[in-house]
Assembly symmetry: C2
Amino acid sequence: MKAHVHVTLKSTVLDPQGQAIHNALKKMQYRGVEAVRQGKYFVLTLDDSLDAETAQKEVERIAREVLTNPVIEEFRFHLEDSK
Amino acid sequence: MKAHVHVTLKSTVLDPQGQAIHNALKKMQYRGVEAVRQGKYFVLTLDDSLDAETAQKEVERIAREVLTNPVIEEFRFHLEDSK
């Protein structure tokens, strides 16, 4: 099973890195982009012996306690059965 | 319209950052994680005047030419109509 975790800055937090990319895109003449936000993306490969409920809890705990800075970031995740 | 772009290391490329997170999780007694890979995640807010086809092309071009290092990374993206 795989867990896909997205960690993004809260919408109220300024994102200078995304802003820098946005400015670069404008200078490079790319059209139609109004804003860029950058986040982090983690793929956790889970032990197949975990049942879905345990996996859900464990990933939620890892995302909350380790991968996310709760002051400025928020996370979401979903589980995917791997072949 | 929003574009969600995921940039990840090619599976053949070592990911020391993901490995470091994996080691940290093991030391912290989190169970059931076999591997961690870290990637980048971008949300581009697009001008609503773009039609879907143009947006698709423009985002594909930005992802390929700017956001991804083609030597070691690959990307995927999807568009989402925003409210």
